[in-house]
Symmetry: C2
Subunit: 225 residues, 2 copies
DNA sequence: TCAATGTATTTTGTATACAATAGTTATCTT
DNA sequence: AAGATAACTATTGTATACAAAATACATTGA
């Protein structure tokens, strides 16, 4: 934990939430690495708060699957084995298909327009090679679909599942040779939604997730060595 | 909160976990009712611990969707509207089908035998009218299928989703006229798994969940009046 | 050298103290 | 009597203090 974690104190939020967001970001960005211990006193000192909000934030990170704690031993950033990732992706696959099929019925013209726009933004971003922006546009794209389900719990679960692979997915997005495939898959999803062709949408989404699965698992296999 | 909550101190667990389990049980059993406030000092006094483990347990209950907290206002037992329940069931439907289809491929002979046994136990229990036991046997039945997926995260999510409707589902189980349908559906699921007929299994599971959905939503509609 | 034991240190677990906010009641003003 | 305001109370938010457990390290004895 060499990076200097600092809090965004601007918000009028309980410290536990601020700490939670800070640690969450740090984990997703890879500043806090899998397996790294989350020591309360250390974090408290670094963030300039007491142990209390740190502890509560850790309980919240546990929820999200981003941390694991062993009683009387402490918490650490969740590690992911290839098996864990496969498990997550199996679930994500099913729920992403569900979301796609609901969205297919419920998406509005406006949302579809927004989706098209974001799709183009994504395509543009791949030309810049700005990995952070590419990732953001991709998140935005899928969020529109999630939102179109009108099911906040599903929305939440999916963004949660995405989070769990975020750290590994970034590597995938770095690799330029994946861009054409990603762009094509996005476009198929949009087409399918526009045509309200559920078969096409779910098939495209399935392929999209499975492609990520293969790539992300590859990344993990590298790391596990 | 008239009931006398008491802790199971037998286990060598951090108090937060003991408190969490205690409150969780109380919520699921309906001793703590939807909308009821979870006041730290009150709970601490009642359980004979300090506020610290209570607060951490509340953070954990939030995770599970069993409590909701408003900053500087406090926590309360999560309420469920019919829409919330429909949202949960939509997810459960997809994941139960996923679980069923994986189980169809992976379930062992021994597990299938266990499943058959539990199915009969369930059938027996319906004759006794002991609602608690009926519910337990039903949980056991589905847990065997969840376990057969070899996907602990999926297992966990499904039991979590089940929990969220547990309070309402009990009412459904009280109603004798549902027993024949339940028994038949269980038997179809088992048959399908034995024959490794994925179509049949997922169809049966889907029907099983949708039937519950209808009934549970009915219960909520009653309560919302 | 190695294992075992004891001791110091670090870290988590729990309780309590204090601060800040929200909610409630009583009082005052018109 | 109605509304505003002030004082009080209840409750959450945060920090700190103390206890217990785990860990690391050194010392001892074979």
């Amino acid at each position: 934990m060499t990076e200097d974690l600092t809090l965004n104190m601007n918000a009028y939020l309980p410290l536990r939430d601020v700490v939670f967001n800070t640690l969450r970001e740090a984990i997703l960005k890879g500043e806090l690495k899998p397996g790294e211990r989350l020591m309360e006193l250390q974090l408290a000192a670094k963030l300039g708060v007491s142990r209390t909000p740190i502890r509560e934030a850790i309980r919240m990170l546990e929820q999200e699957g981003l941390a694991v704690t062993i009683p009387r031993k402490g918490a650490e950033v969740a590690r992911m084995t290839e098996k864990d990732m496969e498990d997550v992706l199996q679930i994500r696959d099913a729920l992403d298909e569900l979301a796609a099929s609901i969205a297919c019925e419920q998406i509005t013209k406006e949302e579809l327009e927004e989706l098209r726009h974001t799709m183009h933004e994504f395509e543009e971003s791949t030309k810049t090679g700005d990995v952070k922006r590419i990732a953001e546009e991709d998140v935005k794209f899928h969020d529109i679909i999630y939102r179109a389900t009108r099911n906040p719990k599903l929305e939440n679960m999916l963004s949660n599942l995405r989070e769990q692979m975020y750290r590994y997915r970034v590597e995938y997005i770095k690799d330029e040779k994946n861009y054409p495939v990603l762009i094509k898959e996005h476009s198929q999803i949009v087409e399918g939604l526009a045509a309200k062709d559920m078969e096409m949408v779910t098939a495209a989404m399935h392929k999209h997730v499975r492609n990520q699965a293969t790539a992300v698992k590859e990344m993990i296999r590298e790391q596990e060595k």
